[in-house]
Point group: C2
Chain length 342, copies 2
DNA sequence: CTGAAAGCGCTTACAG
DNA sequence: CTGAAAGCGCTTACAG
């Protein structure tokens, strides 16, 4: 006799009320076979009347499964990387988890010390882990897999066996934007990319160069900057004042594009006539820049849902169709790129 | 016999290895009195050699306490409000929780439907809840308190009895910035505030007006805009082109200040000579604007730690000094405000 | 179809 | 100072 009594009903209370045994209530609650229809109804009625939620702790001790999903926050990621992705993603994860009866454990990792995260996953018997901003943090990914925890990455197409991921078509979007520039008559192209160790940036680079090569356009360049408006503005100054000024700059984020727009304005260049500019992310600012920014919308909600459901599938709750999902992005054409002239 | 056997050692294994009973191991582990020094050492040695982590699930079932803290994410908050605060705050919360042996449960609430959050807190016996971006969401605050869950708000000074909060001196910072403007000779002041339902914005307003009144300066104005650069730029255009152009604009965020800076540049106004501008938040952009932005740094790490420790104190783990903590902000003077001319 | 019982891994009065 | 035992609230073979 240890834990304090409280007013919560236990499965035994329900059993007594329904005139059956606790085991039968358990079977009925969990939708298991071997409970008579009448008994089932009686139990449902009692639960409906008196209210009863199974104690997840007791269930876990008995089954060994926690019905808990870990969400790993990479706190060392720059604020700018974090920003646009999280709220929508978390909302979708939370919704999916709620619907499936899972709870979410928040795993934070300051720096690279993964020991505590691994310990928590193991102690709490976390059923699976989502890494919403996976990337070059490979050590922990491998360690999680080593622990036997089903792992789903968002935004990083890991080659590790068993690891699932959900990503979107950064490459195709970059290709489409670049083609938009080319079909609008642009011939001096620059990709103002983010940090090249970011998986999404690698894909954007691939997409850019594939369009450039397909069109046989020489002299295209790629420059890498942090996801920072001011830094982008500074680099844009060099580009736009330098020799062979580009007439199209594909930017890897709206924040980068904002810096380029700013510099263009400072230099008195007209957008898109003198230089066409595109962004990525479709953040709220993109619709309000002058001119409004052509950009790419990511399927954030869908990504969160897909990641959650992939995890449920890995846990055997749903059929597992694929461990690797690529969702479509959507190019939003506004006024900062040339009208398709063809 | 239900849960799958695994390789993890139980307290009974340790007890056997140390030649004592499980109860004694439990008492030794938990630092309880009534265990001989020699026994204690032997148990420590065994644990050190073989490794052992107590199963939190079993402990919880026995004690009724989960050693889990809830972190409530307000997903309906705009991305801009969320942004600057979360990573540092979560990191600090995570650190503090880790050190105290607590885990963090991620509570998401899409829209205003709090039922699931309350149910989770109750089912999982969450020991206490932190609301990192509390505000006008009062319904859930009251409901959490009603559940008996110790509750700590960040950024909202609730009047509800029993509710703890950690906030910082938004008001004093606004006063200091305003005085900086006044002592620099500015006499036509505007507070370009954020949404007035945000608690921090109310305090910033208070601080601004208190400085204005103390200096006896007439004609000061306050205008409210969303936390959005483009929206701020539009409002700034009206202000800076209208009659009696302000010579100082105190902005409620760096994003707002960025819009004002942009408009000033567009209009060919010199900052700070024609119009002085200050921000709030000290986001990374603030150091890189042209001119660099005078702004306010929030004690985010300290806030996270304070919130966590207040919760521990409410849970009886630490002495509770106060349920209401106001931490100091720091005004960062850069080049967008007048040099203190006196 | 249903019940009685054992077990999940801890903690904590209760004895001694 | 230490052990034996009961209990936390479930689940699930095992019988019937």
């Amino acid at each position: 006799m240890t834990a304090a009594k409280n007013d919560r009903l236990t499965i035994r209370d329900i059993a007594a009320l329904a005139g059956v045994s606790a085991g039968t209530v358990s079977r009925a609650m969990n939708g298991q076979p071997g409970v008579g229809a009448a008994t089932r109804d009686r139990i449902s009625a009692v639960i409906a009347e008196h209210g009863f939620r199974v104690d997840p702790t007791a269930r876990q001790l008995s089954t060994g499964r926690s019905r808990t999903l870990g969400v790993l926050f990479p706190l060392h990621a720059s604020e700018v990387v974090l920003h646009p992705v999280y709220p929508a993603l978390l909302g979708a994860l939370g919704d999916a988890a709620e619907r499936a009866g899972y709870d979410l454990l928040l795993l934070t990792m300051s720096g690279q010390k993964s020991a505590h995260v691994l310990d928590t996953v193991s102690r709490r018997r976390v059923d699976g882990v989502v890494l919403p901003a996976a990337g070059a943090r490979d050590p922990i990914i491998k360690q999680l897999v080593g622990l036997g925890a089903p792992t789903v990455l968002i935004g990083h197409r890991s080659k590790l066996p068993g690891v699932g991921w959900v990503d979107c078509t950064h490459d195709a979007a970059a290709t489409e934007l670049t083609q938009l520039m080319i079909s609008g008559g642009r011939r001096s192209l620059v990709l103002l990319n983010g940090p090249t160790h970011v998986s999404a940036c690698k894909l954007r680079s691939t997409g850019f160069w594939s369009a450039v090569k397909a069109a046989g356009i020489p002299g295209a360049r790629e420059v890498s900057v942090p996801f920072d408006t001011a830094a982008a503005a500074a680099v844009a100054l060099d580009l736009l004042r330098g020799p062979n000024r580009p007439d199209a700059i594909v930017c890897a984020s709206d924040t980068i594009a904002a810096g380029v727009l700013e510099t263009a304005r400072t230099l008195g260049l007209s957008v898109p006539d003198d230089v066409a500019i595109s962004g990525f992310d479709d953040r709220s600012l993109a619709a309000h820049t002058q001119p409004a920014l052509t950009t790419v919308r990511m399927p954030l909600q869908e990504t969160g849902h897909a990641a959650a459901h992939m995890l449920f599938a890995m846990l055997g709750d749903e059929p597992l169709t694929s461990r690797h999902i690529v969702l479509p992005t959507q190019v939003i054409v506004r006024d900062s790129t040339p009208r398709a002239a063809r």
